[in-house]
């Protein structure tokens, strides 16, 4: 027995995205954002996308390219504070934005990845974030029913991968990547290095390759990956 090889190119992998798809993007700010896959997706040109990402990066960076290209009709996110472009698009009605509490978005994605229908939470009870949501009584407590979230495609960034698609992240570039890895029908990871099988220690793998469909090695990193000079 040996583990299957899932290596491909960024371009070949991104061709799996179709018009109307829901696409999850890893990353919290710069760390963990799959900038190269995002660029390829802008070039690919699939339209009417629903994007799921923690934040909208900053103007002219990462997901902002997708928003500005007109390919996105809906954004499920937690906070747009660093991207005035995105807030303009939201306020002018050019994109629909659904805000989730950050841990609730993380948990909805994980629930999708765990094959669950959703989960019970008391976060937001008594605030406008709870308005219109299904509630349930359990014992003496009232909970909001938060539905699981899945995507057609997830685009991830990993520091290291192997040819089976096992992934390892570094530092705070982990964030939503391992959750989204579980929650899409087609999971595509870009990696700063793709190692031969055995290159990642079995105890130190953050996402098992079982969840990953395609892995593409990055060449030199674009300047979007670098430290932001403010």
């Amino acid at each position: 027995m040996k583990l299957p090889d899932k290596q491909t190119s960024v371009e070949a992998a991104i061709a799996h995205v179709k018009d109307g798809d829901t696409v999850m993007l890893g990353g919290f700010g710069v760390p963990g954002t799959p900038f190269t896959l995002i660029h390829a997706l802008v070039h690919h040109g699939a339209r009417n996308l629903t994007i799921v990402k923690n934040d909208a990066n900053e103007p002219n960076m990462g997901v902002d390219h997708l928003l500005q290209s007109g390919l996105v009709s809906r954004l499920i996110t937690t906070h747009l504070g660093l991207n005035a472009h995105a807030i303009e698009l939201m306020n002018s009605g050019q994109i629909k934005v659904e805000f989730n509490a950050q841990g609730i978005l993380a948990e909805r994605i994980r629930a999708g990845g765990a094959g669950l229908g959703g989960f019970l939470s008391d976060i937001g009870i008594g605030t406008e974030l709870a308005e219109g949501k299904q509630v349930i009584e359990q014992g003496s407590k009232t909970y909001i029913v938060e539905p699981a979230l899945r995507a057609n495609v997830a685009l991830l960034h990993a520091a290291r991968a192997d040819s089976f698609g096992n992934l390892a992240y570094v530092a705070t570039a982990r964030n939503f990547n391992p959750l989204m890895a579980m929650a899409a029908d087609c999971v595509i990871a870009e990696a700063e290095a793709v190692l031969p099988l055995g290159g990642l220690a079995p105890d130190d793998v953050h996402t098992t390759g079982v969840f990953v469909d395609h892995v593409a090695a990055l060449g030199a990193l674009s300047k979007e990956y670098a430290v932001v000079q403010r």
Binding site: K2, G115, L197, V210
Partner: protein, 210 residues
Amino acid sequence: MVARAAREIQPGMVVNLGIGLPTKVVNHLPANFPVCLHTENGLAGIGPTLPPDEADRNLIDAGGAYVSTIPGSAFFDSATSFALVRSGRLDLTMLGAFEVAANGDLANWKIPGKFSPGVGGGIELAQKARRVAVLTTHTDRAGNSKLKAQCTLPLTAQACVVRIFTDMAVIDVGPNGFTLVEIAQGVTVAEVIDATDAPLHVPDTQLPIF
């Protein structure tokens, strides 16, 4: 039958082999066959079983056998292990059975009053693997058929089984119930029909022998 069941595994699949007979299927895979074997206690990429003197005390499969890793194996916790199962990442599972019904119902975990050790991970494997095959003797020790019109024992999962490998035959489970698709060397169609407690569709064509 175990060798025949091994041919059910396609290149690139993620496969969970249930405790007992299904575990032996791995011994019939070609060398370097591209497959990922999963065990629900937290390993993808199971390697060969090891004798006690070579075993790692921390490395077992869900049946308690001492196994090993191969290049690219990964360990994970029990929640992740079943997340993988429930979210449809398992291409195939092969399970043992007490009874399989003509509608695909499977009973393999409890005999009321006699055997009720708990369902373990079987229910999620049976309900959520993309393809569920059963590997079992055609009849029990008393000679009763394990292939039934309906299950009489508590179910593991409803309408989940799509193919059955027995010592007598390979039988598909579909909208029309059981269909004979292959037959074991030296067994007659009449014997299979006789050992099956439900209608068995037999095609007009020549049946492959395994």
